[in-house]
């Protein structure tokens, strides 16, 4: 039975956000007997309520509160009010996510060492290594039921994957398969097997896809140690005279502001909202925001170097049938600076339905050049590029000077400029993507610019030294012992792979640390 805790209970761990980081941390702590209140800004929408309709689903679960953009990235022009495409609901963006679950490569924890000093990039080695995270990666893969690990068979490749694989083979690529996906290829963990429904982004209606909504949160609730309070947007984290955090203020559905006391606060609102909350919690003691003595809160915002390649063929493909992300080519993910850039990228199949394809294929385009591509919709195959982008101090989340949301909290501005390394990588990936499809007879390939950010990272980075970042190797604030960051904003650098497996692994590891420190009364 789900727990219910008192607002004045100062023994609980309060977690802000119920997504990949927050939802996992909540369950892990609850399993260890720690009392947890997860405050989630969005509503609780259950699997049965999800809809196989792109725009309808978008308005059902997306974070649509106003945000502004600046910088030279194309998203600021194409989607000025929508810098990121993420979820506001119990389960966070794990409702939207496609399920690709990849480990970082060893060198990707040490980019400053391996890439050297890159002008305009704020590279830094992570304070942890692959070896340290490996046991947690293994736990996360087991928990999430990742295909291709733990003896779990890979998913069968769909049409979109078969085109990708044929092209990869023709180009001489070696490492391609139907992915390491947190999607059941067979019944497991009381969740069904994938029905190849094809609406993974709209919340999987079969439960085959792992999400904190379907997997972590119900398990945590069953322990009787976890309460998930939905429609509860945290506005401010409070602290006492000693500088320890004491609880949070949140706005509820009725518009009231409530105070929940806490022994520990963990912030997991995704990489735009987490720094926004820390910055908005400024006080006389912490005038620049909580945990911000380094000045790095909100900075080093990363979103992966992305783009898509869609190809039209003489014959039908029907790429929309089956899993949205149905396979991957990993050959370009390696570190090989002879290509003219540091870092690497993955090519992953991606499919959009007609409504989103129209909106995203070439934002702003119209006329026959555009519509002739859509006329070939059922003859299309598509891929998404996921590359490591360079952290930059100036790419940042900041509080809007004048505009506020309904709780009086300043709205966030998202500033991003591509680093020249990002541009070189994207161009390389576009070229390779076209070559791959040309090799199987594409009659036309289209280079689609980045969508609003789905991977948001880095804005409360981990660092060995307190002067370089916001949190230590356990996600604990350098400045405040009982304040943690538990989502993708912890990332020191972003690696050439999808972030969620790493977020979940860090959350499992962090839960061990928090429980241990609470036991020792260190926090």
């Amino acid at each position: 039975m789900a727990a219910k805790f008192d607002l004045n209970d100062d023994g609980v761990v309060v977690i802000v956000g119920s997504g990949a980081g927050g939802g996992t941390l909540g369950n892990e702590l609850a399993q260890k007997g720690v009392k947890v209140v997860v405050l989630e800004a969005g509503p609780r929408v259950e699997m049965e309520e999800f809809v196989n309709n792109e725009w309808e689903s978008f308005s059902q679960i997306s974070w649509l509160d106003k945000r502004t953009t600046s910088g030279s990235w194309r998203v600021a022009k194409d989607f000025a009010g929508l810098p990121a495409w993420i979820v506001k609901a119990v389960g966070g963006s794990t409702i939207h996510w496609a399920g690709a679950s990849l480990r970082f490569q060893e060198h990707e924890f040490k980019t400053r060492t391996h890439y050297g000093e890159l002008a305009g990039a704020n590279l830094l080695d992570w304070p942890i290594t692959l070896a340290e995270l490996e046991p947690y990666y293994a736990k996360a893969e087991y928990k999430m039921g990742v295909t291709g690990t733990n003896g779990i068979p890979r998913l069968p490749g769909n049409n979109n994957y078969k085109v990708l694989a044929a092209g990869a083979k023709a180009l001489g690529y070696k490492e391609f398969h139907s992915g390491n996906m947190a999607i059941n290829s067979q019944e497991r963990d009381n969740r069904a097997s994938c029905q190849q429904i094809g609406f993974c982004f709209q919340g999987c209606k079969s439960g085959a896809k792992w999400s904190t909504l379907m997997a972590e949160i119900p398990k945590g609730e069953d322990t009787g140690n976890l309460e998930v309070r939905s429609d509860a947007q945290v506005i401010k984290i409070e602290h006492d005279a000693s500088g320890k955090v004491t609880g949070v203020l949140y706005g509820d559905k009725a518009g009231n502001v409530m105070r929940q006391k806490a022994r520990v606060v963990a912030v997991a609102g995704n990489s735009i909202e987490s720094p926004r909350l820390l910055l908005n919690s400024a006080s006389t003691m912490f005038p620049d925001g909580l945990a911000n003595s380094s000045g790095q809160v909100g900075r080093n915002y990363m979103r992966h170097t992305t783009g898509s390649v869609y190809a039209v063929f003489e014959n039908p493909v029907h790429m929309y049938r089956g899993t949205t992300m149905a396979g991957i080519v990993r050959d370009e993910a390696k570190l090989d600076t002879s290509r003219g850039f540091a870092g690497g990228y993955e090519m992953e199949t991606l499919s959009l339905g007609v409504p989103f394809m129209a909106a995203f294929l070439d934002p702003g385009a119209w006329g026959r050049g555009f519509t002739s591509a859509l006329d070939g919709y059922d003859h299309m195959a598509g891929m998404w590029i996921v590359g490591e982008d360079m952290p930059r101090e100036t790419n940042r989340i900041s509080l809007h000077a004048t505009e506020k949301d309904k709780f009086g909290m300043p709205i966030p501005n998202v500033h991003f400029d591509d680093h020249p390394n990002d541009v070189a990588m994207r161009n390389h990936a576009f070229k390779q993507g076209s070559a791959l499809y040309d090799a199987v007879g594409a009659t036309r390939t289209i280079h689609t610019p980045p969508y609003p950010s789905t991977h948001n990272m880095g804005t409360n980075r981990m660092s060995a030294k307190a002067s370089d970042g916001v949190i230590n190797k356990h996600g604990q604030a350098h400045d405040i012992k009982n304040l943690f960051v538990s989502d993708g904003s912890q990332f020191t650098t972003g690696a050439a792979c999808n972030p969620t497996l790493t977020i979940v692994s860090l959350a499992i590891r962090q839960a061990e640390f928090i429980a241990d420190q609470m036991g020792k009364r260190e926090i």
Binding site: P156, N159, A166, Q195, I197, L374, D375
Partner: protein
């Protein structure tokens, strides 16, 4: 491989509002009924001028021309503007002034209102010259959603829409591609 029947079933819904028979503009108690000159669609206009609706439908097709789509699909995308303009004076002005600007440009160049300019290329050139205006941006931004958010348009383009209620594609051709030499 399982391909899709892209023919639409013939329904009375080819008319947005039933009861309209002859081409032209008819006044009814409920408002003015605008009927497409070719009889492909009809809709009522209470706030926007009948000519404005006809011109918007033409513009929608010129923005997103698909020769396999009948005018009805563009008319459906345009129809909600009338009610929206009824509730929003700024939008009403944006549309009426935008259309009037478009017609003036058409008159100056082709001595004809926009919707009657015969060549698509000429109409596109007129649109191109207005591309930076808020009116153009508003209509384009709305149409790229409204034209493509219609299940009948999905069928025409070969997209099958919602699939969970059909058990997904696991038994309906998720991997049935048959023309790759080396898959």
């Amino acid at each position: 491989m399982r391909t899709i029947d892209k023919r639409l079933k013939v329904t009375r819904r080819n008319f947005l509002k039933s009861g309209a028979a002859a081409a032209g503009v008819t006044a009814l108690a409920t408002g003015t009924v605008v009927i497409d000159p070719n009889g492909a669609w009809a809709m009522s206009a209470k706030t926007l001028k009948p000519d404005t609706m006809v011109t918007l439908v033409r513009m929608a097709r010129d923005l997103y021309p698909h020769d396999r789509l009948g005018d009805i699909h563009y008319a459906r995308a345009i129809e909600p503007y009338d009610a929206k303009a009824g509730a929003d004076e700024t939008l009403k002005r944006l549309i009426e002034e935008g259309i009037s600007g478009l017609n003036q440009a058409a008159q100056a160049k082709h001595a004809s209102p926009y919707a009657a300019v015969a060549e698509e290329g000429d109409r596109v050139a007129l649109l191109k010259s207005m591309e930076a205006t808020p009116f153009f941006q508003k209509i384009r931004g709305d149409m790229v959603v409204a034209v493509y958010n219609q299940p009948e348009v999905w069928t025409k383009l070969g997209y099958e829409g919602s699939s969970a209620e059909h058990g997904g594609y696991i038994h309906r051709g998720f991997d049935d591609i048959d023309w790759l030499k080396d898959a």
